[in-house]
Amino acid sequence: MNPEKALMTDESEAPEILAPSEPHTQTRIDVSAVAAMAGQRADTETVFECGDINVYYGDFLALRDVTLDIAAHEVTAFIGPSGCGKTTFLRCFNRMNDLIEGARVDGTIHYHGVNLYQDEVDPVEVRRRVGMVFQKPNPFPKSIYDNIAYGPRLAGVKRSALDDVVEGSLTRAALWDEVKDRLKMSAYGLSGGQQQRLCIARAIAVQPDVVLMDEPCSALDPIATGRIEELIAELKTEYTIIIVTHNMQQAARISDMTAFFSVQANEMGHRTGELVEYAPTSLIFTNPDDPRTEAYITGRVG
């Protein structure tokens, strides 16, 4: 499959769109260089290249000048205080900000080399490839089976193949054994942790490339959280995962790379988020470079 071509609504335009983009002139945080410095693997493929991302809600600048790369088959965690723009940034990766009235994204996000924000890109196709799991488990008011089958059905998967898709997705989400005997029952009958794994199964049922997770464990107890974390570690062999979390220990446990965002208020009192530091997680939690990162993760700043 060619991800560059398939993303376009009009494939005939693809070659022109795929002309090499201008080289980035700004200082870029180079994942591979940072990873190599920390003695980690440096030969990973880049999924997203973000250049100078600014996000506005109306006139209000919510996030300033974010430039970073996301590597394939890694878990990247976004951490930072409330209002630092981490969720806003996460929503840039599948154009969820399009759905918010007045939201505007400046800058570039290249997904496998394709600028996600050019007109020819179909946001629906983007969201199929870049799935999302939300803070609160949000199953559809349908059966367990139909929750998983919903997306594949829309995508035109044949009825005969649906059973396999449902079983495969639930198995990969480590939920199959718990629900295989009650697939026709309502998803609302599941526990919170099971519902969240169901949502992960639903996200991967449409064979995405990337899964975005926005605080996926904040509504779950420690056991359910542990299951999701284990699941994330397994899923990263097949998918690229970006996770926003308020739980720094969670970021430390599960992520390969960590981006720390902070928030700064201007003289008008408007608070704008910015990227402070992006480095291998092991480095961030043992010897971070920026004093602001250290202050935040050690609890010296409120």
Binding site: N287, T298, G302
Partner: protein, 235 residues
Amino acid sequence: MTEEVRTEFHQLMDEVRADLVQMGGMVAEGISAVSAALLAGDIGGADQIIAADDELDLLSLEAEEKCVQLLALQQPVAVDLRTILTDLRMISEIERSGDLVTNIAKAVARLHGAELEPRVRGLIDRMREQAVKLTARAMDAYAERDAGLASVLNDMDDVLDDLHNEYIVAVFASHELGKISIQHAVQLAVVGRFYERIGDHAVNVAERVEFLVTGELPEHLGANRARARREQDEM
């Protein structure tokens, strides 16, 4: 605007810091006291010093217990994690220096009746001075988180090593002149070694302080060379 949000956690860390500084101070005082007892042949004084080591052992166990609590309950990261790891390593270094002070104290009785020559006495006093200085500087570097101060400890230790060499020569010259028995000469040589080892522990403390502040250890240089050699061997 630095607002403390983990007050209790950081207070407990400060307590451990104070414990360690106190322990270092006890060792420095012990070096002076045991040197005085040694030069005066004061066996009673030496026994008191041996008994005082229990206090140091108790403090080191209490400090270690606090570190374990911090690790288990507070999930320390970054500078907090490095501090607690440094504390744990330093506890053993200081505790061991305290044991060396005790060893010198035990030698006082064994040296009963030995007539020490002025040169030997003078060198013991200078080793005492240098060992106290090294221990105090290492603890200052720790208390102040001063990596620069820590980095000079190695050079200061060279002075103690030179004194130690001079001292060994003086002790055996003294024996050859018939001033002290071979048993006493050996005992004195071992005492010199104890002073020299106290200096080494102070250097270890200083290296740990550098790690605390910078995240780097002097051993990283050698380790990188070994890593490069290993990679070359594998190719």
